[in-house]
Amino acid sequence: MTGVRKAALIVAILAIGGALVYVNLSFERATGPEVEVEAVERRSLEAIVSASGTIVPQLTVDISADTMGRVTRLEFNEGDRVKRGQFLLEIDPESLRSAVDRGEAALRASRSSQRQLEVAVETARVTLDLARDNLERQENLWELRLVSRETYEQAVTDVALRETELRAREVDVATQIERISQEVANLESARYELTKVTITSPFAGVVTRRNIEAGETVVVGTMNNAGTVLATIADLSVIEAEVEVDETDIPSIELGQWTEVTIDALPDRSFSGIVTEIGNSPIQATQQGAGTQATTFKVVVTLDDEIPSVRPGFTCTADITTAVRSDTLSIPIQATTVREMVVDTHGKMVREESEPRRRRDNQPAGSSEELPPGFSEEELEGIFVARQGRAVFLPVETGIAGERYFEALSGVEVGDLVITGPFSEVRNLEDGDAIRVVDSASSR
């Protein structure tokens, strides 16, 4: 090999070596895990609280019997639509009707007695007048000493006796009037009792339940024994959804919030309504799995429209819109994460020098003992964005939560590529980690 060729060979080797050094230091091959990204966009967000419950009518009444007896007429069936005052059933009225008849007869007899007593009063009054006339004559005669003193005093006594008799008769009349009033009251009571055997609908609605058959005997409820519930009538013109909302969502619930209700039995349809009642006491602490309890509160949503085919007791789901944002910056919910980062005295994150290698928990980026004075480590909520083959952690202040997106109040800009997955990689990402962005439909 000549000197020239040897020199050329050495130059070639050096050139190749230099090229290797250059390309290795200048072009760093994309390494790290593959991640999916999604661009930050402005979207309209709705914060929705979902809760499940049942459909109930706003007004429901259990019809019970006020009197005991056997049902003799029954003119309604379950599911019937009834009008206000419509006859429903009748309990055997015979005994109560007899009581009314007895009362009427007693009243008539009392009034007859009253008339007799009034005649007696008139008789006593006439007798008194006669006695007074006699006394007046006897006085004149006594002044002329034409009658004996005994005769005169007997006339005086007779007048006093007749006056007493008149008062006695008048008292008898007054007593009889009071007795008649009592008889009238008894008759009214009997008539009222008689009305109880006829049961009518208290309002227009639908018979949602019938628990009685013709011929059965109904029992009046007492303090210790529940009476017979004959039927249940519901006013289905106003339908409500009673749902159980988790305690963590209750603070965001307010009266009047718009709600979309879906009924399991009526798929492919949804109904609108508003929140009309928010419970102040927890319903109950229900057991969810081992050792965990969920406290829920009752929230009532009144539906806007009638639902002809609805039945009380249908299960439903209410999506209560607690907040609305239009044209706001949004980030995917699954992209948000929490990392322990170094912050300065003003609470701002201090980004450490980009570290190309993946770090795990066993190799923390630094401990607080090594931090400069005033610096500390805090857990910050944020997202990772893809920038030049690196995952960059950005602290983000979030607002309301939509179905898939958080409202981003600060920390990101439109177009930032947010790392959304896979979850196993997002979970392990650290600020500055190398990543490879894979093509995905959501990437922009």
Partner: protein, 245 residues
């Protein structure tokens, strides 16, 4: 390389160069150097220097924090390339093994270099004996292969500082380094990543040495080595693609 045009092996030099001269000669004047080596086959010194240099370089790199982190990431990447999902527990286990990585790296080099040299020399010597009917002392073949390791010394001196600077343990001297735009994990990228320029150089040096040893042309040996190397690279790349997905 133009050495393949030389059909005639030069007569052995009557002078006997020293160890350093032989190793440097293998790099810059391989035919002359191997002529001297074949004339007086001595392998121990060359093997010792090559193994010691490589062990020292490897051990030093792994002893640094950068080297340990790079080694850890290389292990993780290698496992993931074969479809293994590295859990945090596995990662911790790998990290805990870095304490002895220096000794392990240096020791393994000291063990494997003589062993690989022996195996390679034995295979080549046997193949040449069977196919060519050539009869040469095995000691001479072992000396040729051992001296070809001089390329490994240069490679270590080139790669170790570069890897330390980059903070990675991946091989920076493959053809893949010239194509950073290739997507990782593709067959092309993996195949180019298997073609190491220093191995190409070493195979050429080895072909020259064997040609000198047997007094034959360099071309067929070089072609055979490169063909086997290419087939091996294709096969490994294919297996990695199939396993790694």
């Amino acid at each position: 390389m133009k050495d393949t045009h030389d059909d005639v092996t030069r007569a052995p030099d009557t002078r006997h160069p020293g160890l350093v001269s032989r190793l440097v000669g293998v790099l810059f004047s391989p035919r002359q150097a191997f002529g001297a080596i074949v004339a007086r086959p001595r392998w121990l010194g060359a093997l010792f220097v090559v193994a010691l240099t490589m062990a020292s370089a490897s051990g030093w790199l792994v002893s640094t924090e950068v080297g340990q982190q790079a080694l850890l990431e290389q292990q993780v990447s290698a496992m993931e390339s074969f479809g293994v999902t590295v859990s945090d527990e596995m990662y911790d286990q790998l990290a805990s093994g870095l304490e002895n990585a220096t000794y392990f790296a240096a020791g393994s080099v000291l063990v494997f270099i003589p062993l690989v040299t022996l195996i390679l020399a034995g295979v080549v010597w046997t193949v040449c004996y069977v196919l060519l009917g050539a009869h040469t002392p095995f000691r001479a073949m072992y000396a040729v292969v051992a001296h070809a390791g001089a390329v490994n010394i240069v490679q270590q001196l080139f790669v170790v500082p570069l890897n330390y600077t980059r903070g990675v343990m991946s091989n920076p001297t493959t053809l893949a380094a010239f194509f950073p735009m290739l997507e990782t994990g593709t067959f092309t990228q993996r195949f180019l990543g298997m073609i190491d320029l220093f191995i190409v150089w070493q195979l050429m040096v080895l072909a020259i040495g064997i040609a000198v040893l047997y007094g034959r042309r360099t071309g067929p040996f070089a072609a055979t080595f490169y063909t086997l190397y290419a087939v091996l690279a294709v096969g490994i790349s294919f297996v990695m693609i199939r396993i790694g997905g």
